[in-house]
């Protein structure tokens, strides 16, 4: 078993004809992901890599019964693309796009919270992969190996770094999810942890956090109370980040003294979660 996606997931790519959208559609197809449709307004009726293109999500879902969508549209249009996906009946929306204004996301996340059974992953995320089954996102597939470690992260390439170390050590991954580096994301650490908790394939969990916000602290509380049956290891990026400076991700910023790496590390350690000093230490702590 994996979480959220699997062999049977039927995926639509929103923005399939764009530079990133088309490149990653090819990558996902070669991984074996069932991409059943693409959506680009005004390009309906044509196809790309054998995938039919529709003008709207409503039409694409009606024709294909897809349940997952992945969004590659530019930031100005991405919030609307999320809403369109939610209205079309898609259950899992993965938004790769970086740069959506935060007050748009305030409204989008409120709107989604009023809908039942819709989950947004991202925005500003690398997507998710269940090795050997399905990839919905942009991560390099060759570093993954099927296994029992669940990974959840606010980052992209740092996640690859951790996965690379885990796979090299002979451990593999059950599902790896990048939840995104923005201030407001659809799926939070705790949401993923609770899915991993009930996933029989996931025996161990790695949580990759960074400065900004207090999701790591909340996760530590959750782990202490609910996740005693699985081994959890954490890594926090940004121990040396200066305050008030945005470190690349919109959400990676220490504001008014809040969101430092120290408080996050302390919270995890107090919850009995081992915190790795560097990515290469993670496999050792999992064993």
């Amino acid at each position: 078993m994996s979480i959220l996606i699997g062999n049977e997931s039927k995926v639509i790519v929103q923005g399939i004809t764009g530079r990133d959208g088309s490149f990653h559609t090819q990558q996902m197809l070669s991984y074996g992901t069932k991409i059943v449709a693409g959506v680009t307004p005004s390009k309906g009726g044509s196809e790309i890599f054998g995938v039919p293109i529709y003008d709207s999500m409503e039409e694409a879902v009606r024709e294909t019964q897809a349940d997952v969508s992945v969004i590659f549209v530019p930031p100005k249009f991405a919030a609307d693309a999320i809403i369109e996906a939610a209205d079309s009946g898609i259950k899992i929306i993965v938004c790769i796009t970086e740069g959506i204004p935060v007050n748009q996301m305030v409204r989008v996340s409120k709107y989604l919270s009023l809908k039942e059974d819709v989950r947004l992953i991202g925005p500003n995320c690398p997507g998710l992969i269940s090795p050997g089954k399905c990839k919905v996102g942009i991560m390099p597939a060759q570093i993954f190996m099927e296994g029992d470690v669940g990974i959840v992260s606010r980052s992209g390439t740092l996640t690859y770094e951790v996965v690379y170390n885990i796979t090299k050590a002979g451990l593999g991954e059950s599902t790896c999810i990048g939840i995104g580096g923005d201030q407001i994301v659809g799926t939070k650490f705790i949401d993923v942890l609770s899915l991993f908790k009930d996933d029989p394939q996931t025996e161990k969990i790695v949580i990759i956090g960074e400065i900004g916000g207090d999701e790591e602290e909340r996760s530590a509380d959750y782990i202490r109370a609910n996740l005693r049956n699985k081994k959890v290891v954490a890594f926090i990026a940004g121990r040396n980040a200066p305050p008030e400076k945005r470190m690349g991700h919109a959400g990676a910023v220490i504001l008014q003294g809040k969101g430092t790496a120290e408080t996050k590390i302390k919270a995890f350690e107090e919850a009995g979660v081992k915190v790795a000093s560097k990515p290469s230490d993670i496999p050792g702590l999992l064993k």
């Binding site: 935060v102 980052s155 580096g181 201030q183 200066p242």
Partner: protein, 384 residues
């Protein structure tokens, strides 16, 4: 993007929030001339984009011309946490008794704006929440209802239990909060703060102002570009990086870091420190695979004279390692780089990248730790 006090106050006044009568000066002569027109007492406030200016001596009360001239000369050119003061707000003194705090900010936990008020204004909100957490009032903003009336009334009654003429005050107070909400949404802010907020002659005044604007929404507000130019708070490298579409944050060390991805870039600077070195910067060249980016990144870090060694850490995914190698070799030819370089490349097309770099005598590592240990060693040798 953080607006400086005088910029934030310009926005406040546009929305009808009162501020003291004040003017911006750029040198001591202007300050002295303003003082003669405005009369005394006056407050001189350094306009810098960093906190803690009061403690650093960047705010001065002057009562006559002698003090004015002395204060003007002290404050202009003053270095506050690395920022040189070249703008000063010359402000009238507004008499008041109590100082309050109010702000609206994004609450990441709920995903909604949150209003925070306190009767203990004038000090940092962190300090208030540490010392007197019971004096912090919070009002959730509802996307359908806005500010709930009954909540507003409760908070008002606790904050202003001793003012006379309550009903007209209440109208002013709720109007003020509405204005903050307006600024928050219309200007795409993530924080709008008045601290201290005071009452003088029965009216609310913002004595200080802070606004953080969402960088992702700057495209909607072209006039903020003028503010950024005036603020001039970026280092040369930060400015060059922004113009090249890269993310750069200046740090104090001597090891320049070029990394793809924000999380990996943060982890890289943490590991430089872990292995005994000091990072000179955070630099994320992003995900795409354009050799030009490497050239730009090197151009930027070479302008920093403190740099003794260069670390390149790339985890190839969308970014192809051979493109990185190509960009690096081009840069080596064009930019005359005399500093030692340690390169870590792994992922997409790393084998051909390694071959290209080996033939140019550049050491390439597969492991992040090894590359970082190597660059720390090299920086130490260069530093002697």
């Amino acid at each position: 993007m953080k607006l400086i006090e005088y910029q934030a106050k310009e926005i406040f006044r546009n929305y009808g929030i009162l501020t003291p009568k004040e003017y911006l000066a750029t040198n001591p002569i202007e300050i002295v001339n303003l003082g003669k027109v405005m009369g005394f007492p006056l407050v001189l406030k350094a306009q810098v984009p960093v906190g803690g200016r009061g403690k650093a001596g960047g705010v001065k009360l002057v009562r006559d011309e002698v003090e004015l001239e002395k204060g003007a000369n002290q404050i202009c050119g003053m270095n506050i946490k690395g920022c040189i003061v070249n703008k000063v707000l010359v402000s009238e003194v507004v008499s008041h008794e109590n100082e309050y705090y109010i702000s609206i900010t994004l609450d990441r936990a709920t995903g909604l704006p949150l209003l925070i008020c306190s009767s203990s204004g004038g000090i940092d909100i962190e300090e208030i929440s540490r010392k007197e957490p019971e004096k912090i009032e919070k009002i959730d903003y509802d996307l359908i209802l806005g500010l709930k009336e009954y909540k507003l009334r409760e908070v008002f009654n606790r904050l202003f239990s001793n003012v006379s003429n309550k009903s007209s005050f209440y109208i002013d107070f709720s109007g003020l909060l509405e204005k903050l909400v307006d600024i928050y949404f219309k200007e795409d802010a993530t924080l709008v703060e008045i601290n201290p907020l005071i009452i003088s002659n029965g009216k609310f005044y913002a004595l200080d102002a802070k606004i953080l604007v969402d960088d992702n929404a700057l495209f909607k507000h072209p006039y903020f570009e003028k503010f950024r130019e005036e603020a001039n708070d970026e280092t040369l490298q930060e400015k060059m990086a922004r113009e090249a579409g890269l993310t750069y944050v200046s740090l104090d060390g001597n090891i320049a870091c070029i990394v793809n991805g924000a999380g990996l870039a943060m982890a890289t600077m943490d590991l430089v420190k872990y292995w005994g070195g000091e990072p000179a910067n955070f630099l994320d060249i992003g995900g795409s695979s354009n050799p030009e980016k490497m050239l730009n990144a090197l151009r930027i870090i070479l302008t920093n004279e403190k740099v003794k060694a260069i670390l390149i850490n790339i985890f190839g995914g969308i970014t192809r390692c051979d493109d990185i190698a190509k960009g690096l070799l081009e840069a080596m030819q064009n930019l005359n780089i005399n500093l030692p370089i340690s390169v870590r490349l792994i992922g997409t097309n790393d084998e051909s990248a390694k071959k290209m770099l080996f033939s140019a005598n550049i050491s390439v590592f597969s492991q992040m730790d090894e590359a970082i240990k190597d660059v720390v060693e090299k920086a130490k040798k260069e530093g002697i």
